[in-house]
């Protein structure tokens, strides 16, 4: 095992990785931009290194600065987390050339799976089903027309280098093809530096179901089942769960999709943790979509249902150890569901709402896992993705997990900025969601209007704000309605002399 590992990321995932390193007895090096000097990740790490100014291009995306920090601190390996440099084959290669282990798949596997067109070719060669479409990039409008005709409308235009819905357009009629192609290519160029796009048949009412894989450098490769991530807004996942409601009804699908994922991973020479994403249609046909050659945001869902620590396994595998779990030893227990808590305004088009977290009450209790990167007083920077935390619930059944997650969301309070906490409670209350009947169109087609406060809730708000402001105006003075004295005068007669806490302790022993 390594002695020291650099975490080349920020936010909740940096915290998750630092925790994993400490549990494995490995020293952690956090890196930070100027916007993250006071971050939770830095404060939890053993060592910290400044990268540069806030913009990612000058900090978390700057390969040389990260390698320099690793050398300076004597880190033997780098964990890239997700996003930033995690799927950058050049970075993985540069680590190797510097004698530093990249905790992830081999650079060659990232290359083979990194471009969606290359990954599609690989999947076809490996005998895994893919959505009908072009394998090559679209060269011109005439070719696009011809291909779209063959596939049949609606078709999807997608960026070859992309993800997160950037450079993606749905086209329902031929007359819209030219403008959609132009828009998608220019958006792809702005987002990824490449205007390469391709065409696919649009799968109707698809569900997004992905398979977690894990492999070592000695030839063992296993899958850890699925995560359903169909609840997305603008192609960004917001709720993830395992098992998928589809698998609950059709358990045989897990093994079939798992086998397809493993075929693709084997063809790419994959090792370490990775994810194969699939679309599943109404008739449970599944199609390979793309590979994520890294740890996923939603990995805790798999950790909770399999009982396996993916980050710990990533470390062991990167250190050259053998994966000692066989496919038949992987078992799934209960149901896990995750909400991505974002600093964003669901009532205002999900626009980011960065700023200072004035108040924070985090949920806890049975079956709750909170992977958070923030604390009260933390200023959510404008410069990065506004993901604050991931709230995950585990319970024996899907219904129980939903109830538990809803309970935790009701406890979760974030003040000072807008978040999507209340929005999740409306999703969880939706009958279609509860029934497991949904597709990736769920959030676009369901109106989840915010609840109006009742008159008594308005009164409670008015009472609280009036008392808060009265207290701010006259600190130290007793409030007209402050009844706190009722807490100070014990209702029971004092039985025992001595310090109050001791007395209270003895009293409760007596009961």
């Amino acid at each position: 095992m390594f002695g020291k590992v650099l975490v080349a990321n920020r936010g909740e995932i940096a915290v998750r990785l630092i925790r994993g390193l400490r549990e494995s007895g490995v020293r952690s090096v956090a890196v930070y931009s100027d916007a993250d000097r006071a971050s939770l990740a830095v404060s939890l790490a053993d060592e910290a290194a400044r990268l540069g100014p806030a913009p990612a291009s000058e900090s978390y995306l700057h390969i040389d600065k990260i390698l320099n920090a690793a050398r300076k601190h004597g880190a033997e390996a780098i964990h890239p987390g997700y996003g930033f440099l995690s799927e950058n084959a050049d970075f993985a290669e540069a680590c190797g050339q510097s004698g530093i282990v990249f905790i992830g798949p081999p650079a060659e596997a990232i290359r083979k799976l990194g471009s969606k067109t290359a990954a599609r070719r690989l999947a076809i060669e490996a005998g895994a089903p893919v959505v009908p479409g072009t394998q090559e990039k679209i060269a011109n409008l005439d070719q696009a027309r011809q291909v779209a005709q063959q596939l049949g409308y609606p078709v999807l235009i997608k960026a070859a280098a992309g993800g997160g819905g950037k450079g993606m357009r749905s086209v329902e009629r031929e007359q819209d093809l030219a403008s959609a192609l132009r828009d998608a290519a220019s958006e792809a160029f702005r987002a990824f530096g490449s205007d390469e796009v391709y065409l696919e048949k649009q799968v109707l009412e698809p569900r997004h179901i992905e398979i977690q894989i894990l492999g070592d450098h000695h030839g063992r490769l296993i899958h850890l089942g699925e995560r359903e991530c169909s609840l997305q807004r603008r192609h960004q996942k917001v709720v993830e769960e395992s098992p998928s409601p589809v698998m609950l009804r059709h358990p045989e699908l897990r093994a079939r999709m798992g086998e397809a994922a493993l075929r693709i991973a084997r063809a790419a020479g994959y090792a370490n943790a990775g994810t194969m994403e699939f679309l599943v249609d109404r008739d449970r046909n599944f199609y390979f979509l793309e590979a994520n050659t890294r740890l996923q945001v939603e990995h805790p869902v798999t950790e909770l249902v399999t009982g396996l620590d993916l980050v710990a396994w990533q470390l062991h595998i990167a250190a050259g150890e053998r994966l000692t779990i066989s496919q038949t030893e992987v078992s799934w227990r209960g149901s896990a569901m995750e909400c991505r808590i974002y600093a964003e305004d669901p009532e205002n088009g999900f626009l980011p709402s960065p700023g200072r977290i004035a108040h924070l009450h985090e949920p806890a209790g049975p079956g709750i896992r909170l992977d958070s990167g923030v604390y009260p007083g933390w200023v959510v920077p404008l410069d990065y993705d506004p993901l604050l935390a991931k709230l995950v619930a585990w319970a024996p059944s899907r219904d129980d997990a939903i109830r538990r997650l809803d309970r935790a969301l009701a406890e979760y309070e974030i003040g000072g900025i807008r978040t999507n906490v209340a929005f999740f409670r409306r999703i969880l209350a939706d009958p279609d969601f509860r029934a497991g009947e949904f597709s990736t169109a769920f959030l676009a087609t369901h109106r989840l209007a915010p609840e109006d406060p009742s008159p008594e809730m308005e009164a409670a708000a008015a009472i609280a704000l009036t008392m808060e402001e009265a207290m701010e105006d006259a600190p130290g003075e007793p409030l007209p309605a402050a009844p706190s004295s009722s807490f100070k005068s014990p209702t029971h007669p004092r039985l025992i002399d001595g310090p109050l806490w001791l007395a209270a302790g003895r009293q409760s022993q007596l009961r």
Partner: protein
Amino acid sequence: MKRDTRIRGRAGSIEIEAESFQYQHAGGEPIKGRFFSEPTEPGSRAVVIDGRVYRVTRGARGEMLVNGVATLIEVFDPRDLRARPAAMASGGRSEIFARMPGKVVRVLVSKGDSVEAGQGLVVVEAMKMQNEMKSPKAGRVAEVRTQPGAAVLAGETLIVVE
């Protein structure tokens, strides 16, 4: 203790006497009851009305979360003349602030202008969308704190209408 309130855009009042309260908003039935309220964590209070518990926490700017439900609210001391420049029916002093970070594209009013309720005051562009911020009430522009081209943060006051 009596305060004028503006909750979700509606004027009303709250009166607190020891552990009793009366709340009323224009057009609504008054609610009366017994309550107690204790500060819990900083920025947060438990308000227990006739035995029913409400957790009230400062939310985003200008909002309280009541059992997690965001509620737009302001309270004014009716004796405080500064907070009460106009009739309560028009809501006192209102700060128009940016709801998200962005760039000011246009400022549509100048200091001293009279404005109608719903009149556009300033246009902010964020994430390639232009958002016209409107006056919540009729009144007069007391302050213009921004200018075209200025970068603004969420929560930053742009215009004050009295």
